[in-house]
């Protein structure tokens, strides 16, 4: 049983750089939690504070039932996988994996058994006698994972472990990591800047920016109901389209209006948007919530645009279009045939429109 609870955690560097601001988080037992955000958002610092490699300036970190604020890393019952693997270059693969157990005075037979077991899980048994420099990137990654799992820790910490791998291997290791977590049933906290990695691996994802937690939720929740404009734009690829609109009241019906785009506020959203009447807001729409209009689409969710670029990806086509001053991306069915510079009529999916306050950027 190891849940991780962060309460009011702050990190100041040299008294004036506020790297992590009042973070409150609760990673449940056996959960795979992912911290994601752009570089410099404080995700790695937060992870390092949990590991005990950085001191916390204020707040409390609890792992399981113990407050670990003042415990050195070795006493926190954690294992960490680093981006550059941090394999001990002078030790063989076997000794790399055995080191943590040797330091904890396990007997030889037990060490042998655990290393063999971990090596079997990761498929690195033939490599045990080699030195790290004789391994490929993917193999080093596995050894680093093996070194973490032999200890049977209460908590795994991953600091961008897949960033140094090439794209294909990364996808493969991603799947393996997920399978490994399924099998080991240990709480894991994983830091990445790659939102796809975050979405595919995380039971829950923590989106951070400038040291502040923006939203915590399961992947579909983050995608479907982003709490603010940053989360909306960060999660999803291609990114959500944004347009600055004015909320206008025309005879009791609310409209979001901008040059080239005019869309009726869907009835379920009217109540929330009514207070914003006459004010500016940001309209957000995901590429797949835009499609080519047919005759049956209601006119209030349709607009005209010109196709700038067509990106046929095989399973789908991305249309880069412009409507007035707005450049948007639409993800459409591969059977659609449109050419560059063609005039098209597009329809919004009214159930998938997002509105954000322009001042606070939070979702309305």
């Amino acid at each position: 049983m190891a849940e991780v609870v962060l309460t009011g955690v702050n990190k100041w560097y040299d008294g004036h750089v506020h790297a992590v601001k009042d973070v409150n988080l609760h990673a449940r037992d056996k959960e795979f939690m992912v911290f994601v955000g752009p570089s410099g958002c404080g995700k790695t610092t937060t992870l390092r504070m949990i590991a005990g490699l950085e001191e916390i300036s204020s707040g409390e970190i609890r792992i399981g039932s113990r407050v670990v604020n003042d415990l050195p890393p070795m006493d926190r019952d954690i294992a960490m996988v680093f981006q550059n693997y941090a394999l001990y270059p002078h030790k063989s693969v076997y000794d790399n994996m055995a080191f943590g157990l040797q330091m904890r005075k396990f007997d030889k037979a037990e060490i042998q058994r655990r290393v063999q077991e971990a090596a079997a899980i990761l498929g690195i048994e033939p490599l045990l006698e080699r030195k790290p420099r004789q391994l490929s990137g993917g193999q080093r990654q596995r050894v680093a994972l093996g070194r973490a799992i032999v200890r049977h820790p209460a908590l795994f910490l991953f600091d961008e472990p897949l960033s140094n791998l090439d794209a294909k291997l990364r996808v493969q290791m991603r799947v393996e990591l997920k399978r490994l977590h399924e099998r080991l049933e240990t709480t894991a906290i994983y830091v990445t800047h790659d939102q796809v990695e975050a979405m595919t691996l995380g039971d829950r994802v923590v989106v951070m920016k400038d040291g502040v937690v923006q939203q915590v939720g399961d992947p579909m929740e983050l995608y479907g109901r982003p709490a603010n404009k940053f989360v909306a734009g960060f999660i999803g690829s291609p990114a959500m389209n944004f347009a600055d609109v004015t909320i206008a009241d025309a005879g009791g019906t609310l409209w979001a209006e901008a040059t080239g785009i005019r869309v009726k506020v869907p009835p379920p959203r009217v109540a929330a948007l009514r207070p914003h009447t006459g004010r500016r807001a940001t309209l957000g729409v995901r590429p797949e919530a835009l499609r080519l209009a047919n005759g049956s689409d209601p006119a209030e969710y349709v607009f005209d645009a010109v196709v700038d670029v067509v990106e046929p990806l095989g399973s789908e086509i991305l249309l880069n279009i412009s409507a007035g001053p707005h450049a948007l991306v639409a993800r459409v069915d591969p059977s659609v045939s449109v050419k560059m510079h063609e005039r098209v009529r597009l329809a919004f999916d009214p159930a998938k429109l997002h509105f954000f306050d322009q001042a606070t950027e939070s979702a309305i």
Binding site: A51, P73, P89
Partner: protein
């Protein structure tokens, strides 16, 4: 095309390299030839019809025999070896810990301390030997090997500290962070992970310290006075130049024997030495 490249390789590679090798090795060659040349040939005029200044027709070991029989050379060699090894060990131990601290620990004044250590390295020995002589006399260490074993580190520690600090900085800090999570204390991570990884750097610092102690002249000249306490550089010069007579053959034999241990040390560790100075750790 091919011919042109060959021509270029000669001009830019072989010829300069040959000149460099000749330039570097000629003094050693001259030393060797002089050491095995009989006295009659040594003092023959260059203009004599049978002069052979660049080689000898009758090689002899008489100078070596004379050196070993009439002087305390074996004793000097032993003194030099002992002093060089002890002062190297002292300097390495201090340099490793100080270098690690300056590279990894954040403490108030760490940058100032680093600079201060470097500055002490810049103070010339010719300036330091006078106050040091006073200290040595005060501690009654004059004319003992300890006079040198304890004063050589004053120049060697700053050097070792700086070289090792630079080397430790090239070692990814994740290595010791990982060790600390794996169950080592900071000290344990330093000893079990960082020091073994830094072996090339430690060896090159050691070789440099050893060579410097081996060749040191001025402290050895000032702090040691009796013949049997002397080191090779001082002993050879003071005992084989009597008045205005230079015993060239024995001088050169002594110099040759004195340089053999250093050359051996270098050739054993040359790969580490290069890696240590260029500072490359692959994780």
């Amino acid at each position: 095309m091919v011919i042109e490249r060959k021509w270029k390789k000669w001009v830019y590679f072989y010829i300069p390299l040959t000149m460099f090798i000749v330039f570097t090795l000629f003094p050693f060659y001259w030393m060797t030839v002089t050491a095995i040349r009989p006295d009659a040939e040594l003092y023959r005029s260059w203009r004599a019809p049978n002069a052979t200044p660049f080689w000898t027709l009758e090689p002899t070991l008489e100078h070596f025999q004379g050196l070993l029989a009439t002087t305390a050379f074996p004793q000097w060699l032993w003194n030099t070896m002992l002093i060089a090894i002890v002062s190297t060990i002292i300097s390495l131990i201090c340099g490793m810990f100080a270098g690690y601290a300056l590279a990894r620990l954040k403490f108030r004044g760490s940058e100032f301390l680093g600079t201060a250590i470097f500055v002490t390295y810049l103070v010339p020995q010719t300036l330091l030997f006078i106050p040091l002589a006073d200290i040595i006399r005060g501690m009654q260490l004059g004319n003992t090997p300890w006079a040198l074993m304890l004063t050589y580190p004053t120049i060697l520690i700053p050097f070792c500290t700086w070289l090792l600090m630079g080397y430790f900085k090239t070692i990814p800090k994740e290595l010791e962070e990982c060790a600390r999570i794996d169950g080592a204390t900071r000290f344990g991570a330093m000893v079990r992970i960082i020091f073994p990884v830094a072996v090339p750097g430690i060896l090159s610092a050691g070789i440099f310290a050893f060579t410097l102690s081996w060749n040191e002249f001025i402290y050895a000249l000032v702090f040691l006075s009796s013949v049997e306490q002397k080191t090779v550089p001082v002993g050879v010069v003071s005992e084989l130049i009597r008045g205005d007579i230079f015993f060239w053959g024995q001088l050169m034999a002594g110099a040759l024997l004195g340089s053999v241990p250093v050359a051996l040390v270098y050739s054993f560790f040359v790969e580490y030495y290069v890696a240590g100075l260029t500072g490359s750790v692959k994780g």
